[in-house]
């Protein structure tokens, strides 16, 4: 069996991207909720190597930005003093992966805040918000995927393995769920929930909503695989030797579904990240001031922001590498699964 095929680079790239988001506290220079009320909608700051007088500096530096006199939206660089960019600085406290307390940040500066990709309406650092927002969005996608697949495997396996009226009933329920317009269902679902929810509650509610709505499709796929697997010769043989249902499922049938599950996982994560973003974009997600990619984009609903502050689009760009990674992984896994199956069946000498 050749496993050198294409899924590994995709997986490594994704691991790296998730690592960055997971260590958002380290890569982000500031706390994502810290406001700088003197600098709302600050455009991305420029990093210089050559100062106003034409001298070259080895250490990158930047100039602090100030509102132009009498204006509330135009910023200008104050070229009097170059503020050097420092690496591995102590700053706002955070917890790495939510556990390890730390103060260390990849970069920062002493005299002024550095906003590499600008700031939002409250002067909050956009880079920090994108990184921290990714934690919410990706975690929602991953946990939603886990919940969905758990439900999908459970229901799909029961329906496929036991068949009969159980299969009929479960598959009708699946069809019902597939046929429902799920965005509206999400709305309805969220509307029933209490008004005031803390960010943590809201987060788990989103995952619950995603899981409740998303399980139907994987369940149907897995049922199909189980249905075909349970009629395979080696399964029948095992049954003939007196294997119990539990043993058959565990040992012979569910392993057959692994490639479908993995591919589904890779497809579902970006789909659920998008679901979380949709909910947050529409104001039904994690509440302010906690960022998520969807809520970072909500300000773009206003025409004035849309035409004035291009850096507010950046959270939308942030999702692109993740989506590419997941979709690449999914298609690589699918290819693998296809060839793997043929080799396996050929190896067993059925042909």
């Amino acid at each position: 069996m050749t496993w050198v095929s294409g899924w590994k680079p995709w997986f490594l790239a994704l691991a790296l991207l998730h690592g960055i988001i997971g260590c958002a506290g380290f890569f982000a220079p500031y706390d994502p909720t810290e406001q700088d009320r003197d600098r709302p909608y600050l455009p991305p700051m420029k990093i210089h190597l050559v100062d106003a007088a034409g001298h070259f500096h080895l250490r990158p530096f930047f100039y602090s930005m100030q509102l132009r006199e009498g204006s509330f939206e135009l910023f200008e660089e104050r070229a009097e003093r170059a503020i050097p960019l420092r690496f591995f600085v102590r700053g706002a406290p955070y917890r790495l992966f939510g556990i390890l307390p730390s103060h260390l940040h990849l970069f920062g500066a002493e005299a002024s805040r550095i906003c590499l990709v600008g700031s939002d309406a409250y002067g909050r650092d956009q880079l920090s918000r994108i990184l921290y927002g990714g934690q919410i969005s990706l975690l929602a996608g991953l946990m939603g995927m886990g919940l969905t697949l758990f439900l999908g495997v459970l229901i799909g396996a029961i329906a496929g393995f036991y068949g009969g009226w159980r299969d009929g009933l479960l598959m009708r329920v699946v069809e019902l769920f597939v046929a429902l317009p799920w965005l509206y269902l999400l709305f309805a679902f969220r509307a029933f929930l209490p008004l005031t929810v803390s960010p943590v509650q809201a987060f788990f509610l989103i995952i619950l909503v995603i899981g409740a709505v998303g399980w139907a499709r994987p369940a149907r796929l897995i049922r199909g695989v189980v249905l075909s697997a349970k009629e395979r010769d080696f399964v029948r043989a095992a049954r003939g030797f007196g294997a119990t249902d539990g043993y058959l499922l565990r040992r012979h049938i569910l392993p057959e579904t692994s490639s479908v599950i993995l591919t589904q996982a890779a497809i579902l994560v970006p789909q659920f990240v998008l679901a979380e973003m949709t909910l947050s974009f529409l104001g039904l997600g994690v509440p302010e001031p906690v960022p998520s990619w969807g809520s970072l984009l909500t300000s773009l609903q206003q025409y004035s922001v849309l035409v004035s502050y291009w850096w507010m689009y950046l959270p939308a760009l942030a999702i692109v590498p993740f989506f590419l990674g997941y979709l690449g992984l999914a298609s690589a896994l699918q290819e693998d699964a296809g060839t793997g199956k043929i080799e396996k069946t050929m190896g067993e000498g059925r042909w």
């Binding site: 909720t33 406001q35 009320r37 709302p40 509330f72 939206e73 406290p93 309406a121 409250y122 002067g123 008004l195 005031t196 929810v197 803390s198 104001g283 509440p287 302010e288 001031p289 206003q302 025409y303 004035s304 922001v305 035409v307 004035s308």
Partner: protein
């Protein structure tokens, strides 16, 4: 007296802009013979720039008006169209000076006891269909307004001292209004009360179907008014076209009959951003009710139009806590929190911790004013200058909280958390209207301000109607950020907000008896200002109300936005006012400087 103060229902971003476009080729008037100002007519002469006749002005309206019937018009777009352009009142409040001036009534006299108002109509007045106006129309109008079976929206306003106003005809030009009780701003009552044509409406009235009359589908021949424009065409879902009223009763300094414009078109554009785009593309000629951010976008690329900032308006935004008496049905959690809210030091601490300057800067981009009382700087006469404007002080806030028995615990996360005397953490939620980006932004700033005091605040954006329902009906909320806009600079229309029995007494509406001594004092002062005969006495009472509000902070006043508007450069006499309707209040004087108008349509 029911308040006309209106919850500013929609976000500023969803609000209405008025826009105009014009073609120079519109016909003059359908009847063909524009009457000349004869000696029998007493036209009102308006000062101001002399304009040119002609043109078609296009403005956008935030929603389709629901009706053209002044009796049933409760929605803002209907009121804007009816009162702004189609109808006229006996005595009018000048939107620029904020003072009353004669309108259909050439003059009025108040009796010594302040109970009798004698109004004399202008001579030669005609409705827009040419039918003459006399005292009978006035009597008919008020009979209809006061008829309980008609359910006119104006009825409550005309009940003074518990009794309806009574009218007596003296002669064809003179009517006497009798009030049961002195009413501070008596002549201001007449503003916005359209005089209706008896010859058209008496039949539906006797048949009992008056409230169904004058829908948008009414043919123009069955409609008549006294405003500068009259009905021409209504296209459902798209626009309402008005044409010049050839019998209008105002003239310019040169003696030419107003209005100048041939047509006034209201486009229905429900989205504020779409209104900005239409104005930018020249499709509409005027825009108002702009948010500060849209205003800067438009100001940045001024292209054939000029933007103008009329200064702070009458809108005041505030944070308030639920101070109601919920009794036993209150959820225990809410009842526990309401104990904090009733503590005046708690409210003062919150007020001291709020950074109002940041609100003006970040929410209104500096185009607004910080507030410490309900009278916005746009109101020229009623503000109490003695109200202190303390700067933001977290130290003062902390000291007040300590005095009130609150303390801080060290949290493992590092930030100290505020706890009450029972050791429960101070956490509450603030409702905001989800359609109003400005107020949600204010709440977000307040959230951060209060985090520095160790309070955990959550923001709950809600659909506006369910929010109002929660605040005034179910009362299951903790705090809320809202704004109010008064139609008038006078405090009387806001009685409903300040009286403890008022339905818009937001922190504890519709009380049967004042819950606190200071609310009782406000009630007393408001009644006094209503009955006081002179402005000085009324002002004194209202000053006292403002002081009580500043001391007790049932509402923590935040900021007031500027009135922002824009118009094409070719439009003359464009003077946005801080009172509604911000730009169309002088619709009869607006004109196009270039002869052809803006033929953008």
């Amino acid at each position: 007296m029911v308040s006309m103060a209106r919850l500013s229902t929609f976000g500023r971003w969803l609000s209405c802009g008025l826009l105009l476009a014009s073609t120079g080729i519109t016909s003059l008037c359908a009847n063909g013979f524009p009457p000349q100002a004869g000696s029998s007519e007493e036209l009102l002469t308006l000062p101001g720039e002399i304009g040119k006749q002609g043109g078609r002005l296009v403005v956008s309206l935030r929603a389709e008006p629901k009706t053209l019937n002044p009796l049933t018009a409760a929605d803002a777009p209907s009121r804007e169209v009816i009162l702004g352009a189609m109808q006229a009142d006996l005595i009018h409040i000048n939107r620029a000076t904020q003072l009353t001036e004669s309108a259909l009534a050439k003059s009025w006299k108040v009796s010594a006891d302040g109970l009798q108002y004698t109004l004399t109509l202008r001579k030669g007045l005609r409705f827009s269909d040419g039918h003459p106006v006399d005292a009978d129309d006035v009597l008919f109008t008020f009979r209809v307004y006061l008829d309980e079976n008609v359910h006119a929206t104006q009825r409550d306003q005309l009940i003074v001292g518990g009794k309806p106003i009574t009218l007596r005809r003296v002669d064809a030009q003179t009517v006497v209004f009798q009030l049961a009780k002195t009413y501070g701003a008596g002549e201001r009552l007449f503003d916005g009360l359209a005089i209706l044509p008896r010859h058209l409406l008496e039949k539906p009235y006797t048949e009992g179907r008056l409230s169904q009359a004058w829908t948008l589908a009414t043919p123009p021949s069955e409609w008549a008014g006294l405003g500068p424009f009259r009905l021409k065409e209504y296209v459902a879902g798209q626009k309402l076209t008005l044409e010049r009223n050839p019998y209008y009763w105002k003239q310019d300094a040169k003696g030419d009959r107003l209005p100048y414009l041939n047509e006034l078109v209201f486009l229905f554009v429900p989205n504020a951003d779409a209104q900005v785009l239409r104005f930018q593309s020249g499709e509409t000629d005027l825009i108002s009710r702009l948010g500060a951010e849209s205003f800067s976008v438009l100001s940045r690329q001024q292209n054939g139009y000029t933007m103008s900032d009329a200064g702070p308006g009458l809108e005041y935004n505030f944070l308030f806590f639920n101070l109601g008496e919920l009794g036993e049905k209150a959820p225990p959690d809410l009842a526990r929190k309401m104990k904090w809210f009733r503590e005046v030091k708690f409210r003062r601490a919150i007020s001291a911790a709020i950074d109002r300057d940041a609100i003006v800067r970040l929410v209104y981009q500096g185009r607004g004013a910080a507030l410490w009382g309900p009278v916005a700087p746009g109101n020229r006469r009623w503000g109490n200058s003695a109200i202190p404007h303390p700067a933001r002080s977290l130290e003062k806030a902390r000291a007040l909280l300590k005095e009130a028995g609150f303390s801080w615990t060290a949290e493992p996360s590092g930030e100290p958390a505020l706890v009450d005397s029972d050791g429960k953490p101070v956490e509450f939620s603030i409702l905001t209207s989800s359609t109003n980006a400005d107020r949600t932004k204010m709440a977000t700033l307040i959230q951060d301000d209060l985090r520095q005091l160790g309070m955990r605040v959550q923001i709950v954006p809600m659909e506006f109607r369910s929010l109002i329902d929660r605040v005034t009906q179910t009362r299951e909320y903790e705090a809320c950020v809202l704004g109010l806009v008064s139609f008038d600079a006078d405090p009387t229309p806001e009685m409903n907000v300040w009286l403890s029995s008022g339905g818009t007494h937001l922190w504890n509406p519709s009380q049967s008896r004042p819950a606190t001594a200071w609310e009782a004092e406000i009630d007393r002062q408001m009644e006094q200002q209503l009955a006081a005969p002179s402005f000085e006495q009324r002002k004194k009472s209202f000053d006292r109300v403002q002081e009580i509000l500043a001391e007790n902070e049932p509402m923590i006043f935040l900021a007031s936005p500027d009135i922002l508007a824009g118009a094409k450069n070719s439009i003359g006499n464009f003077h946005p006012a801080v009172l509604e309707p911000y730009v169309l209040w002088n619709a009869e004087q607006l004109y196009f400087r270039n002869a052809t108008g803006n033929a953008s349509k």
